[in-house]
């Protein structure tokens, strides 16, 4: 048991080191650029619109008139207070701008990830279990076809078919504006806006999980312990899910952890296609406006997000596979 805690602690330490490195980069890079850091942080256009008062307050805020140790101190204290700077485009604190968009993105990503993974695993197990039979061939071919679509194209396709032609789903946004809905109606409204973007994400993402699961299942079925399970008198369902399924989760979890950064990028495309008011859409408008503090804030947030999810995956993997607990 002590071993377990120690290995968890060392894992956490690894993540803290990575986080510290990223924060340090975020701090150092603007200050390494030629010219003055304020210029680097806010860009040309922002400075044109800047009044001397604002400039003064910014210099004070960043402690630019003091030594770099004090600057770092000020930066970290700012971060700890949730201060990522000021977005001159939105005329608001970066933190609050991001916080307005983050829940929508999280909703999208978490839903898509859970659904794609669950669906991929179930289809993968069923397909691997029927290896070589028509259902298996059908599933492999179909899902390979779907995962071949670029994400934005899938989004556009769904939008055209179900949004524009059939009119079954709203075309854009996360909620119907100015509808003033409450309770269950609000929930249904959010859901109807979610359907198409989540479906697009799931359809493209599910293929990879499916293939990995299926391949693992195919090789697992040859394992002696599956014979042991059958010899015990396990039902097919128990063999399929309690033994084969449980063991096939391991590579899936690893793969999912690794594909999170990619998923974030995919989500940005989907948010653009569906004008979904998440972090991705926010990032594009920040890029358009060259709102550097906002861009930096979003990038920092995304890296922290990726690190957190990877950390959770590592923990989950240890829970799933007892062999890894002692591998560190």
């Amino acid at each position: 048991m002590n071993d377990k805690r120690a290995s968890c602690r060392s894992l956490l330490l690894n993540y803290i080191i990575a986080l510290a490195f990223i924060i340090a980069m975020n701090f150092i890079l603007p200050r390494l650029m030629p010219g003055d850091p304020l210029h680097a942080i806010y860009g040309d256009e922002a400075l044109v619109a800047m009044t001397p008062e604002l400039e003064k307050s910014l210099i004070k805020e960043f402690a630019l008139d003091r030594s770099w140790i004090e600057q770092l101190q000020a930066y970290i204290i700012g971060l700890l207070q949730g201060d990522l700077g000021f977005s001159y485009y939105y005329k608001e604190q970066v933190t609050s701008v991001i916080m307005g968009a983050l829940p929508w993105t999280m909703l999208l990503i978490v839903l898509a990830l859970v659904m794609a993974t669950a669906l991929g695993i179930i289809l993968g197990i069923e397909s691997g279990y029927r290896r070589g039979r028509p259902q298996d061939h059908l599933m492999v071919a179909g899902l390979m076809f779907l995962s071949g679509f670029p994400m934005f194209f899938m989004g556009i396709l769904l939008l055209l078919i179900f949004g524009v032609s059939l009119g079954w789903a709203p075309l854009s946004g996360a909620v119907t504006p100015y509808a003033g809905l409450e309770g269950i109606d609000y929930f249904m409204d959010v859901l109807s806006h979610l359907i198409l973007p989540v479906t697009a994400l799931v359809l493209v993402l599910v293929g990879e999980t499916f293939l990995i699961t299926r391949n693992t299942v195919v090789s697992l079925l040859e394992e002696p312990f599956i014979l042991t399970a059958r010899g015990k008198g396990c039902s097919e369902l128990a063999v399929k899910y309690a033994h084969v399924g449980r063991n096939s989760l391991l590579p899936v979890v690893t793969k999912t952890g690794m594909s999170i950064p990619l998923l974030l990028v995919q989500t940005i495309f989907i948010e653009i296609v569906f004008s979904y008011p998440g972090v991705g859409l926010l990032l594009t408008s920040a890029l358009d406006a060259r709102d550097y503090p906002l861009i930096q804030g979003i990038l920092l947030l995304i890296t922290v997000l990726v690190l957190t999810i990877n950390f959770l995956v590592d923990i989950l993997y240890k829970r799933l596979d007892p062999r890894v607990r002692y591998a560190h």
Partner: protein, 586 residues
């Protein structure tokens, strides 16, 4: 019968893995299924479990129900409950992500109405009873040693107290000490059940089971009591298996079975590798028949006795040189005839060859009394002698020497004889180029001349080779080569050998059985390892002691209480005395 297998056939695609297995077992029976890998042993186990994937026919009746036809649902109810199997492969037979006790508890919960808590407690109890103690029950498979994992697997099989327990190579990947522990455990758990032990480990089979069935290419070729089968195998394949198994009591060098197993052969499945096959073996599958308390599937009734010597007596003038000699030599085996000089060994071999006429008694070759020594006799029995330089005429070159028996027996045309001569020279690993063929014995080394002598003996394709001290004139390294050659020929051709020697340590390495001669009588016969490790006759004991270099112990020791055959009771022990003659005739 609790378990009755009738004409069980299993095939995967076109390959027939099991070709009609019949087996009947009651509670308390234990049987081992032995054979090479790929013989179908595991398939047999899996068919009883109803887990075999190929197409099958026949019946596997368990408590009257045919396991091959009952619905999968019912089969699942039996599996793990009434019939349990310990699968081979200790490394991977457990689910890597579940605790040992959970896996055992699962086996219990499938078949019994019991809560999670109850099942866990029961699992712990069973694990305890198979010797997995303390925290180990909560461990994951990778945290357990091979022996501990095997215990978990056994616990899982025993979880529901099955009536039929199938053990598939249960100790294959364990070290000797762990194996001994697990073996002890098996002995206690198989009591009161039907146990079927699938193994290639003959020591395991003899330790665990009372009966044994030898499986070859999907057919049972021999079945009987384990101890009897190991002591006296009847089917050539059984003998081959035992000969290739490195037991602690084996004294003869390991011999392999020539060729490899092929499934789906017409006729007897073993005929391609069998050295005593006859024409019918290639056409018809021999049925499993009861022969002397044993089931043997062989057209020839098992390993055939090649040579029988019955009550042979011989005296020169008034000296009784041989008295009531009885010997049996089986196809493909080596019988060592050991004894001091003058004990009558050479006389016996010359009598068999027909160089002397016996006073009374018979020599029987392949169940026929030998009345005259003609071509058919000499093409079956040949001899090699002690001193090769003397036994190969110095006036003949290699080719003439090897051709001679063919010429004398008027076999084949000139060309055929030449081809045959080159072939046998090849068998004895000599060159067959013209330069070598033209050499004379004095141009060859001792070992080479002996090879030529062996080639000459082989030229007629004999079944029996009488070798009279064939290596005593050679140095040890050449001797080793010649002996290896002879054993190799035995593997290949099924040659039976009567190996006459005074060197008991040499006999120990080359012979399957041993006959000890003393003063014109055979005083002891038996399997070589038994005779040597447990010599019953005082004379044998002396020979063994002398050979082991313990002359100080050579004074007569008290005989422990043991029965010796009556014929030898009165023989006086007097080393070096030789044969006594009847005084009245002097």
């Amino acid at each position: 019968m609790m378990l009755q297998i009738k004409d069980l056939k299993v095939s995967f695609g076109k390959a027939e893995i099991l070709r009609g297995i019949n087996l009947g077992l009651e509670i308390g029976d234990s049987i081992s299924i032995v054979g090479e890998s790929g013989a179908g042993k595991t398939t047999l186990g899996l068919s009883i479990m109803g887990l075999v994937k190929g197409s099958h026919s026949g019946e596997v009746r368990f408590r009257g129900k045919d396991l091959l036809t009952i619905p999968e649902e019912d089969l699942r109810g039996l599996r793990g409950k009434e019939i349990a199997m310990v699968f081979q492969n200790v490394e991977d037979a457990l689910d890597p992500v579940q605790r040992a006790q959970d896996q055992v508890a699962e086996a219990i919960r499938i078949h019994q109405r019991i809560g999670a808590k109850g099942a866990e407690a029961a699992a712990k109890k069973i694990l305890m009873s198979v010797g997995l103690k303390g925290d180990k029950a909560r461990a994951y498979p990778h945290q357990l040693s091979g022996g501990e994992r095997q215990r978990v697997i056994i616990a899982m099989a025993l979880a529901n107290d099955p009536a039929l327990l199938i053990l598939d190579e249960p100790t294959a990947s364990l070290d000797a000490l762990t194996k001994a522990d697990i073996l002890r455990l098996f002995r206690s758990v198989i009591v009161g059940r039907i146990s079927l032990v699938i193994t290639h480990d003959i020591a395991l089979a003899s330790a665990l089971t009372e009966q044994m069935a030898v499986l070859y290419a999907g057919e049972i070729v021999e079945m009987g009591r384990t101890d009897e089968m190991l002591r006296e195998p009847r089917h050539p394949y059984t003998r081959g298996l035992i000969r290739s198994y490195p037991g602690m009591t084996t004294t003869k060098d390991l011999q392999s079975i020539p060729g490899r197993m092929v499934h789906g052969l017409r006729g007897c499945p073993f005929h391609e590798r069998c050295t005593q096959r006859i024409e019918i073996c290639q056409r018809e599958m021999p049925p499993l028949r009861e022969i002397g308390g044993r089931q043997v599937a062989c057209h020839r009734g098992g390993i055939v006795p090649l040579l029988d010597v019955r009550d042979l007596c011989k005296s020169f003038d008034s000296c009784d040189v041989l008295r009531d000699i009885n010997l049996t030599l089986y196809e493909g085996e080596t019988l060592a005839l050991v004894g001091e000089s003058g004990s009558g060994k050479s006389t016996l071999s010359k009598l068999i060859m027909g160089l002397y006429e016996p006073d009374s008694g018979d020599v029987v070759l392949e169940q026929q009394k030998v009345l005259k020594r003609d071509i058919s006799f000499y093409s079956r029995v040949q001899m090699i002698f002690q001193n090769p330089k003397e036994s190969v005429s110095h006036r003949m070159n290699v080719l003439d020497a090897v051709l001679e028996p063919l010429v004398v027996q008027k076999k084949g045309t000139r060309e055929e004889r030449l081809i045959r001569a080159k072939e046998v020279l090849d068998h004895v690993e000599l060159p067959s180029d013209d330069e070598f063929l033209q050499r004379y014995p004095h141009q060859l080394s001792g070992g080479e001349v002996q090879r030529v002598a062996i080639a000459r003996a082989l030229a007629l394709g004999p079944k029996l080779l009488i070798a009279d001290e064939p290596t005593s004139a050679l140095d040890p390294s050449v001797q080793a080569k010649i002996l290896k050659l002879l054993m190799g020929l035995q593997d290949k051709m099924g040659l039976a050998m009567l190996f006459v020697t005074h060197d008991i340590s040499l006999a120990r390495k080359v012979s399957d059985r041993m006959a000890v001669m003393h003063k014109g009588r055979i005083v002891e016969t038996g399997a070589t390892n038994e005779v040597l490790s447990n010599p019953e006759h005082p004379y044998t004991r002396k020979l063994v002691q002398c050979a082991s270099g313990e002359p100080e112990k050579m004074d007569d020791r008290k005989m422990p209480d043991r029965e010796i055959s009556k014929a030898t009771e009165n023989i006086e022990i007097n080393l070096g005395e030789g044969i006594r003659c009847r005084e009245s005739n002097f």
